[in-house]
Symmetry: C2
Amino acid sequence: MIRVLLAEDQQMLRGALTSLLAFEPDIEVIAEVADGQKAWELIQQEPPDICLVDIEMPHLSGLELAEKIKQANLPCKVMIVTTFARPGYLQKAMDCEVHGYLLKDEPIDYLIATIRKIMQGEKVVSKDLAASLFMKEQNPLNEREIAVLQLVKKGLTTNEISKQLFLTKGTIRNYLSTSIQKLQVESRQQAAQVAGEKGWL
Amino acid sequence: MIRVLLAEDQQMLRGALTSLLAFEPDIEVIAEVADGQKAWELIQQEPPDICLVDIEMPHLSGLELAEKIKQANLPCKVMIVTTFARPGYLQKAMDCEVHGYLLKDEPIDYLIATIRKIMQGEKVVSKDLAASLFMKEQNPLNEREIAVLQLVKKGLTTNEISKQLFLTKGTIRNYLSTSIQKLQVESRQQAAQVAGEKGWL
DNA sequence: CAAACTTTATGACACCTGTCATCAAGATTT
DNA sequence: AAATCTTGATGACAGGTGTCATAAAGTTTG
């Protein structure tokens, strides 16, 4: 019997999955929760065989949860189930050594099949995404540019950034200028956004 | 027998709902589609009793679809099923005279119960949202400000906007200035965003 | 060692942005 | 008719933004 914990914040999908998984003779949903924090508490008490986790959840994201599970070295597989095909997410998931990464755009049968495959030791990634693991563009930004863009993403102004990094206003603007050109966008906001989506921050 | 058409772009949820609705003896899913355009074509050919439609879908949004159905005066109820509690969406849905507006954060049983209620002529809105229909703030923007913000949302610059509206650069900036103050935000982008979310554009 | 590169800083330039005070023409109210 | 309101325009100001050329200091490479 495969014991599953389901962490997904959207009640309708969560309920539906639970109902449908219940029909599988070899699968048992031992818990379903709506946020990462709750999931983490349950997993520590009594680890399931596999956790299906959404990424965007309140309190603790699916990726953070995966990270914790990895660090605590719990005997529990992790499978990400998300809407988002962002390379950044996929990258982070790989860093956390998750066992599967599935898009919500796959049919349920595939989800179920994937659960079984993972329990047999395989690693599974949604087809469309598999390619992007190889084709991953490498980060054109240098350390300083990354640091600056991280602060831009938080909404800081040129001045605030310059204070935080102990650099001059002008220097910050130079880094932003080069970042903008490297990423082929038109403003610092856009730069921060695309760099974020690609997992470069 | 209640004949249902399901328009939802996320395959996993769509499949799950179809499977679960199939268990209800008085409900039949006659078609399931992944985008609004496809839904519209099918509905014209042979209208179902009720359409469950997501809002954010490719090609034709759920709200646009509702609009078309209303204008064509088809004998077909419309029920919005969405993640988003944005007052703007709800407002537009009401303008399209949809018969139900449900959040994906409701359980499936409620969804099913709602389908039956709607078929009996009731109108249903998710509990959390019902209040916001009464408490709706009124739009503080005037016509011109709205026109300008709509163009900002599309990403146009001050200059482009001024040409489109046959006004001066300066005038545009004045309208933006007042909009920004009325909405208590700090930039044209933010102004366009919050106005959009509230359904004022 | 000298040449070449990297990192950081500076100042100048053109342009955009939000605010404000003011103005003028037209419409509405008193 | 006079006072007031509305709509749009204008110019000025402070500040932000992106670009560029240039420079000093330190590091790496040939």
